[in-house]
């Protein structure tokens, strides 16, 4: 693509009226869908994402387990949600029988300042969550 047409496109994209944003209630509903109705308890899972982000286009995010996890607890799933993006879902990770350390890292887009939620599901069916409020100074170009 020629540079000029790219700049025009990027500009046009930036000038559009804001797309709909997810709402905290939507994330709560998704968490309840994971837990089967109960609110996820706090603890056992640790979400690491910077609290202050300059560029929301690629934000490093790591989910791991805390020190309060019993030794025999087996992690099966991690769900990540973001309540300020156009859609609240970010990713769903599944840990199989050959998984090693229960930990995953990726990079995500954050459209605006918002709360990021990670829910960990264990083999016994229990669900635990962690949340981080992220301040984004330059949003991801999502709309």
């Amino acid at each position: 693509m020629r540079r000029r047409s790219f700049v025009v496109m990027a500009g046009a994209a930036a000038m559009l009226p804001g797309a709909a944003r997810a709402k905290p209630e939507e994330v709560e509903a998704l968490v309840r869908a994971v837990t089967g109705g109960a609110p996820a308890r706090r603890g056992r899972v640790r979400l690491e994402v910077p609290e202050l982000v300059e560029n929301g286009n690629a934000v490093g995010l790591t989910v791991s387990l805390g020190e309060d996890v019993p030794e025999d607890a087996v992690l099966t799933d991690i769900h990540v949600f973001a309540d300020g993006n156009p859609r609240p879902g970010v990713a769903h990770f599944r840990f199989g029988r050959l998984a090693g350390v229960p930990k995953v890292a990726t990079r995500v887009r954050l459209a605006t300042s918002q709360t990021v939620t990670a829910v960990a599901v264990f083999a016994d069916g229990s669900c635990w969550q962690d949340q981080v409020g992220v301040l984004v100074t330059w949003s991801a170009c999502l709309d």
């Binding site: 047409s5 046009a12 970010v90 709309d143």
Partner: protein, 107 residues
């Protein structure tokens, strides 16, 4: 898949000792929320499914949404008791499937 991913997997591991797998796939992860210069929606094209297994047994899998950044990066951990072939496979919205295979020797 024209461009191969950056993949970091040890070729030799110790039995039962966790090791890290890191992969960076070149992909625009087009969100489907953007519009082009004439106002048309740019079709969503993201890698929505990623799977990693060894000899058919699951290590790790991911369902990704448009909120995952362009050129998706994933780091996770595996633990093997026996040598095997790790298969990393992913699919995008255009139906393009790609796969990487790595033989891992357990010593």
């Amino acid at each position: 898949m024209a461009v191969r991913p950056l993949l970091s997997v040890p070729r030799e591991v110790k039995a039962g000792v966790p090791f890290e797998v890191r992969i960076l796939i070149q992909h625009p992860m087009e969100t489907g929320f953007r519009r082009d210069a004439v106002g048309g929606v740019i079709a969503r094209d993201i890698i929505h499914t990623f799977e990693c297994s060894v000899d058919g047994e699951e290590v790790f899998a991911a369902r990704l949404e448009p909120a995952v950044a362009a050129n998706p990066f994933l780091a996770f951990s595996a633990r093997l008791e026996r040598s095997g072939t790790m298969v990393l496979r992913w699919v995008d919205d255009r139906g393009v499937e790609a796969e990487e295979r790595v033989a891992i020797r357990v010593v």
